[in-house]
Symmetry: C2
Subunit: 315 residues, 2 copies
């Protein structure tokens, strides 16, 4: 480690840099570093680290001859991995806050429907209606479409909360407490068997419009759909028809084909739809800064960088 | 076991007996019993078991000379334990569904406030507002007043979901992951330290009006109160003042001094209050019937009855 602290450039949209500046400084000091952090500005001088998002001002990394590493704040690196000016180690962001936030989101929205919260909130009119008593978790089935790192974590949590839990994935998975299925017939079984369906699938050619009129018709009448994955999963016109026909009781949607969701989209204000503005899987500044500071410490002390990208593999 | 199946009388309000009849028959058959179950009616003939609530028609148990056991469906037995006509074994209800339901209730209502669900639902107007992103559970503190069997289970669960968790109880408790406090200064610390306060205290002279103007003033401005225990805990006028002054951001209340809560009570329809009709800790028919059937099987086969009341101790 040199006498001076590491010099760090934040290359990201101005509003985002303003959010990162203080938490990153605090996270660095927590690790004994005394950093000099510059947010945006005229980009003069040299830096030890560039903390960047691909939509920030820096695209020519060769202007920083002393650069030790480029630390991304996005999980995806497809827009940066081929940049020929970037010859130093490149790290992507694996933010523990992101999966924590997803678990919170899925837990909250599953439990909202499980305890009939909407009916409770509509029954504040002076009528003492014990018919609002819901079944217990053990009498409710939650089905997960997608059992990757996020979907699998959510399925394990729901099983841990006592729900009957099913899961569908492209390849056969095996998880304690989760009835795992695969294939088209597995998808049918999960949709037919679940009171609440949570979709956490990636955006691939295989998942595009997976939920359309044919598959939505497999859902239990009045069942709930929560899409916390990708908007392309859903045929929007078919979902609206299924909602209006009562096949789907409610849809809570966090991802859309066009984002922000246009103000005139029929999902907005639909009595059976809840729109959330792509917040289920957001990077959280505090936990992301802890990861960045840890990598800067490793860079300064010759340690192995976390989440370093293999440029040949592209991720 | 005799050739005929056990004869069972349901002595409880008619509407409740109608709910128990089929599930109890099914639960008995699951255990290989072939019961003859009578709900209410003229109470003629003899019975092997009376399944009863203290507000049901039977108070003179001596009319059933062949009675083998009296099986209550309430947890509390204070209204029946001194009945001199009851000389056979008496069992109270310990329903696993009740604690499951309480865990569901507390999880749902804590998560509702944690993810700002009310703000999300109020923002269905076409505006894509990512300012709705909540902190993660690790940045939120949930405080429990009462760490008995229900409060302790809920505190453990919230800790397991990643929340910072505090707890207050009369006697010093120690729980992994829960910052346990006791005494008046411990109450102050929990109320000052918590974003969401969950009360699960019993009704005793010590807990009456524990939450009044003085203690509510310790809560964080805008913090949320969830009372799933007893209505006597709260000075209602003081809570309404704290809600109207903004000290308490929201109160979700399941128990009240007078139940049903009178239709003209100011809690109903208050913009910062959610009333639930004493459903957090309800006995669930299916799980209760499984316990009853298990006890009937034990009675028929000479086994040890579950949850038998010690009449000398009174519980």
């Amino acid at each position: 480690m040199t006498d001076r602290g590491p010099r760090i450039l934040l290359s990201m949209p101005t509003a985002l840099a303003a959010q990162y500046l203080t938490p990153l400084a605090l996270a660095c000091r927590d690790l004994g570093l005394d950093p000099d952090i510059v947010a945006a500005g005229p980009l003069e001088g040299d830096f030890d680290y560039v903390v960047f998002s691909p939509d920030g001002p820096v695209s020519d990394f060769s202007r920083f001859p002393g650069l030790k590493a480029a630390l991304g704040i996005w999980a995806g690196v497809e827009r940066i991995v081929g940049n020929p000016t970037l010859t130093v180690p490149l790290c992507r962001m694996v933010d523990p806050g992101l999966s924590m936030g997803m678990l919170d989101y899925v837990t909250a929205h599953v439990l909202r429907h499980h305890v009939n919260l909407d009916a409770v909130l509509a029954r504040q009119d002076g009528v003492w209606d014990q018919g609002l008593l819901p079944p217990v978790a053990a009498d409710r089935t939650v089905g997960f479409l997608g059992l990757g790192s996020l979907g699998g974590a959510c399925a394990r949590r729901m099983s841990g909360l006592g729900f009957r839990t099913m899961g569908w994935s492209r390849r056969q998975a095996a998880m304690d407490g989760v009835d795992c299925r695969t294939g088209r017939e597995g998808l049918e079984a999960v949709l037919r068997g679940s009171d609440i369906v949570v979709a956490l699938l990636p955006d691939t050619p295989q998942t595009a419009n997976l939920l359309d009129a044919a598959t939505l018709a497999w859902m239990r009448p009045g069942a709930v759909l929560i899409n916390a994955g990708r908007g392309s999963l859903i045929d929007d016109a078919d979902l609206l028809a299924a909602l209006d026909g009562g096949r789907v009781g409610h849809a809570t949607l966090d991802a859309f084909r066009t984002e922000p969701l246009p103000a005139d989209h029929p999902y907005w204000g639909h009595p059976r739809v809840t729109v959330t503005p792509h917040i289920a899987a957001a990077t959280r500044v505090n936990s992301a800064c802890a990861v960045l500071a840890q990598n800067i410490l490793r860079g300064e002390t010759g340690g192995t960088l976390l989440n370093q990208v293999d440029r040949a593999a592209g991720y």
